[in-house]
Symmetry: C2
Amino acid sequence: MPRMFSSDHRDRCRNGRPDPFPVHTLKRVDRPTTLIHDDLVQRVDEREHGFNRAARGDFGPRLAAEFQRQVAKYPLSGALGTMTGVMGRLVEGGGAQSASRTGEKPAMPGVAGSVAPGTDDPGRMALHIKETAYFLRADAVGICELPAYAVYSHSRRGGMPAHLDHKYAVAILVDQDWRTASAFDGRDWISNSMSFLGYATAAFIAGILADYIRRLGYPARAHNALNYQVVVPPILLWAGLGELSRIGDTVINPFLGPRFKAAVVTTDLPLTVDKPIDFGLQDFCGKCRKCARACPSRALSDGGKEMHNGYEKWPTDVQKCTSMRVGNPKGAGCGTCIKVCPWNKPFTPLHRAVNRVVRTVPAVRRLAIWGDDLLGYGKAHSDQQWWLDLEDKDGVLNVPGRGAQRK
Amino acid sequence: MPRMFSSDHRDRCRNGRPDPFPVHTLKRVDRPTTLIHDDLVQRVDEREHGFNRAARGDFGPRLAAEFQRQVAKYPLSGALGTMTGVMGRLVEGGGAQSASRTGEKPAMPGVAGSVAPGTDDPGRMALHIKETAYFLRADAVGICELPAYAVYSHSRRGGMPAHLDHKYAVAILVDQDWRTASAFDGRDWISNSMSFLGYATAAFIAGILADYIRRLGYPARAHNALNYQVVVPPILLWAGLGELSRIGDTVINPFLGPRFKAAVVTTDLPLTVDKPIDFGLQDFCGKCRKCARACPSRALSDGGKEMHNGYEKWPTDVQKCTSMRVGNPKGAGCGTCIKVCPWNKPFTPLHRAVNRVVRTVPAVRRLAIWGDDLLGYGKAHSDQQWWLDLEDKDGVLNVPGRGAQRK
């Protein structure tokens, strides 16, 4: 809701800048703070992602079965997942739309026959596209050139080779809701719904934005959780929306922490791109380790970085992480790493001030990490629980044991 | 975006109450402040609404033609209108869904076969449904019993008699964006996009919420701008979301003013209802008259109330209002009344304080109305214009003359 503060905040902080968050205070760098050997990174086959491997049985028959019900087993994540699926059918316009689907009438028009006048200034268009995304209620937006290695080699949909030659990527972040993140324990029944709140809402915004760009006369495709042609993390790094963290392959935004989901619009609309950011996360994650210690499946490493497909990053055990998220017997999904991350905070005046100091003064980081525990962050404030503990078993909703205990 | 303030604001103001806006400070009354003779109100035939009359030619051939392009003539409202249309196909689940459309596979499941345990407490469910809508990023939510006269007699879709016997209505409000409302002049090219931002986003939230309620085992239908079975204003009055204003048939919310659009979910889920509110708007609108003076089509009255279909309200010339919104030659749509309304403000600490005084102290209202002009509210702050002035003519986008002059 709290758009009600927007104008106030924008008037005070933005001074004509498009971003509601004070991104102008961030240190910009030429390359992501994670070492990437661009020439060594291999394009990823979407079929090899953890969820798809679980679905096809690589992690055993139980997880293959659980994968089918993991979203629908909780009614709110089920509804959000269904809406995200609808958005997955609205990523392209006109012919491409119907071509990509089962002969369904295209819901959106294709690329306009002529280019809109005044849209050839990359600087003006970058500003305009960000303003448009914020008007559509995005929480953070960044733009980069689309790295070739950020395009999947093959789609999970029938293993079709992916072809995408758009020059630019616009990344849209949507908050998973701080209040819920403060109340939940990281892996109870609302967890998947928080993910799909971000997925569905970012997909909704990206779908409208891509349609808008096509109406301006430029090719554009939306990419969302249920219909990607791109790998999101490198796009977030190059678009200056965050740094790669100890939470495997997860990018942390300095203002939202890991508490967001992203959708992307790729396009050929000429855009001035953003630069990567450095807010000290490589040093911070090196010292913190809370996600690794809290991870219920021990999927995260509390050690050092390793080379993986051209990236020097903290390693993750994808099977352990996926098994917990898909097979969680006492909840729906898992976001324990998001829950306990010290960057998972509301953007209040106090936190804004602390945030800036921690970003800019390395010496205070150990103190901040220690104080975070002292102040009880990372704990479940179950007195604030607003959701119902329910589990769908064979079409019947029951109150699961653990939920009953929490009541 | 500014959900970043939510937790802060909620923690300070909510104390366990579901609503982010301080609705607990509002005066509650037993009946809407507008006199309604419940027994005299006739159900409305949707085909007789201004837009539908314009579409069928009641207001002449030019407006009938303009109606077809009024949303698509501006690319952003076109994209938002297309998404709203998609949401218009997602109001029901299962069979009803496919029955209501052209044999398309239902996108959403129907009502669950069994009722979720613990959902039979109306008080708990009212709180839960509000919390869920706010989690889905609604800006304001209210609940009432569905008045029989709020159901259309006939649908504009083929004139089918409307049948809806749900007991409750949950109304969801979405802000049209204060920053844009401050920048625009009320009737330039972004106007329709502001309306459809509210329509599309409220429809998105209502569609997910109705699906969620059906998964809990209760009938539920979403109602949005492109697929209503209900008349929205009386629902907003009974749900305590606002009072009927001088702006014809428009309900003003004490915190959003008229700067919102609504979607509704009707259901049989047992819910405790809200009571109507009285924040002095009948007295305020009696004194203000800014909307009537600013209306470019002279559609609003600066006189007194009149009886119309059982309501004692300020009259509107529907043909003049519709003709301006559909036929606006120098913009897309018209929201001049929303622009100049003194209740169209951001929810900043200063405005929150003034808001409370104006609501509770009748004597200061004339001063507030005078001061509003003095401080330049209601003026277009075109230096803040972020959108493009564009007009689609026969599939080609041009920069319209007036837009060029403003540059």
